[in-house]
């Protein structure tokens, strides 16, 4: 009987969030803008061109680039910190 009550209570609780969510969040609006690429060169030209031509691809480039740069810097600084003796290991959690 107790198990049945637990099951019923669980089912009721599961419906709470889905019943509350009935609309999407307020989102930032699309920025309708074209960048002038005539005076740009190199990386700036590359990024601005993708920004003008395909915003989806631009978003993918930005996201991947952030992840890759984050990983590279993490690796490099880790090596530097290890060299100066500031390496980290598993720590004990003291409050």
């Amino acid at each position: 009987m107790k198990r049945l009550w637990v099951l019923i209570f669980n089912l009721i609780l599961l419906t709470v969030p889905s019943a509350l969510v009935w609309a999407a969040a307020e989102k930032a609006e699309l920025l309708e803008k074209k960048v002038d690429v005539t005076k740009l060169s190199g990386l700036n030209y590359f990024f601005a061109s993708w920004y003008n031509d395909n915003m989806w691809l631009y978003a993918i480039i930005v996201t991947v680039l952030m992840g890759v740069i984050g990983l590279i810097i993490a690796l490099v600084t880790d090596i530097i910190l290890k060299m100066i003796g500031m390496e980290v290991h598993k720590i004990e959690h003291h409050e």
């Binding site: 637990v6 209570f9 669980n10 609780l13 969030p17 509350l20 969510v21 009935w22 609309a23 999407a24 969040a25 307020e26 989102k27 930032a28 609006e29 699309l30 920025l31 803008k33 960048v35 002038d36 740009l40 990386l43 700036n44 030209y45 990024f47 601005a48 920004y51 915003m55 989806w56 631009y58 978003a59 993918i60 480039i61 930005v62 996201t63 680039l65 952030m66 992840g67 740069i69 984050g70 990983l71 810097i73 993490a74 600084t77 880790d78 910190l81 003796g85 500031m86 980290v88 290991h89 598993k90 720590i91 959690h93 003291h94 409050e95």
Partner: protein
């Protein structure tokens, strides 16, 4: 003099000082790595002060937060500070909560009271959390003494120490990394609540989730910091992508901020190793009270002063964290040298 550091930002179509971007990134990186927060509440006003176009501020900030969170989470994981299971649950709960909160904001907007309700709630939360954490810090020794006395009294009477009452509705989940067993419903309700608050306030929610993990779920402070950063990583990735699609990310500025933030995050995370849980809580409490003061100033239309307050608070806190890191490092080095001497003798 600093004009030589000016770079051209192709998407915003303007010159901007690279040093400022790297410095803002660095300070928010230190805070993020140490407290486990994204730090948008520092970056946006700081960019505003230096004249960065606001159309790109939030998107650029979220992009760099994503990269920075990878650095900080990886390092926290190495230190055993990330509870993946808890982090994944927090993502699910937070997404639903944020949607509910955003819906509530739209309802409040229709009533015409969204602005003041959100601002006052924000202030109440920052001051309330900050003051509670300060109180918790001040009374920790008294509480520990009371608990020890209770244990001693129970031992004298030959009885077991009474267990603290908690809500144990099945299914119960064990989180080995945090060392806690807790009802699925408690965890879900906490993340739903923190997600709802961040959706309502329009903030990332790191500063709400971190104390919630400590006080409502029962995580050790360092694990709360690492696990919160793990959640920030996902919200940052989503934010970076969705703002990118809308053309609101200035990529060169984001890369420059990320360079500073990634280095800062390494500093912040390493500092966690040298400071005990209550020390982190104390500094966090001071930081959010100062952030609350900044929101209060904004309420009185003192926007520039408010931005300076939050930026100076962030810089000051960075200095404190770096000093603590340096002192801890020197102490550890001295201890290692003493051990080696003993071993040699």
């Amino acid at each position: 003099m600093f004009d030589i550091f000016n770079v051209y930002l192709p998407i915003a179509e303007m010159q901007f000082n690279a040093l400022i971007l790297v410095a803002i990134g660095f300070s928010v990186g230190v805070l993020g790595g140490f407290f486990g927060v994204g730090g948008a509440w520092v970056v946006t006003p700081a960019l505003n002060i230096f004249g960065f176009p606001m159309a790109y501020a939030i998107g650029t900030d979220l992009a760099h937060i994503f990269g920075k969170s990878i650095v900080a989470t990886a390092k926290h994981r190495k230190m055993g500070n990330v509870d993946m299971k808890l982090g994944l649950m927090s993502i699910v709960g937070s997404v639903i909560g944020v949607e509910i909160g955003a819906q509530n904001v739209m309802w409040l907007t229709r009533l015409g009271i969204a602005g003041p309700v959100v601002r006052y709630l924000y202030m109440f939360l920052l001051f309330g959390l900050g003051i509670y954490m300060l109180y918790d810090y001040i009374t920790k020794d008294k509480r520990a003494a009371a608990q020890a006395a209770k244990v001693a009294a129970a031992a004298r009477a030959g009885m077991a120490v009474p267990v603290r009452k908690s809500w144990n509705l099945p299914p119960m989940i064990h989180f080995p990394a945090s060392g806690i067993t807790i009802s699925f419903w408690t965890v879900s309700a906490v993340f739903l609540f923190t997600g709802w608050l961040s959706g309502l306030l329009g903030v990332g929610g790191g500063f709400i989730r971190m104390p919630a993990l400590i006080y409502l779920i029962g995580c050790p402070t360092a694990i709360a910091v690492g696990t919160d950063l793990f959640s920030v990583l996902f919200s940052g990735a989503y934010g970076c992508f969705t703002y990118g699609i809308k053309g609101r990310v200035e990529i060169i500025a984001a890369v420059l901020m990320l360079v500073g933030a990634a280095i800062g995050a390494q500093v912040g995370v390493t500092a966690v190793k040298y400071i005990r849980g209550y020390g982190i809580r104390l500094l966090f409490a001071i930081m959010i009270i100062l952030a609350g003061s900044s929101v209060a100033l904004k309420q009185f239309n003192m926007t520039t002063t408010a931005a300076w307050v939050v930026m100076c608070a962030a810089l000051g806190m960075c200095v404190v964290i770096m000093i603590k890191l340096w002192n801890g490092f020197q102490k550890e080095k001295a201890e290692k040298a003493a051990m080696a001497m003993k071993g040699g003798a």
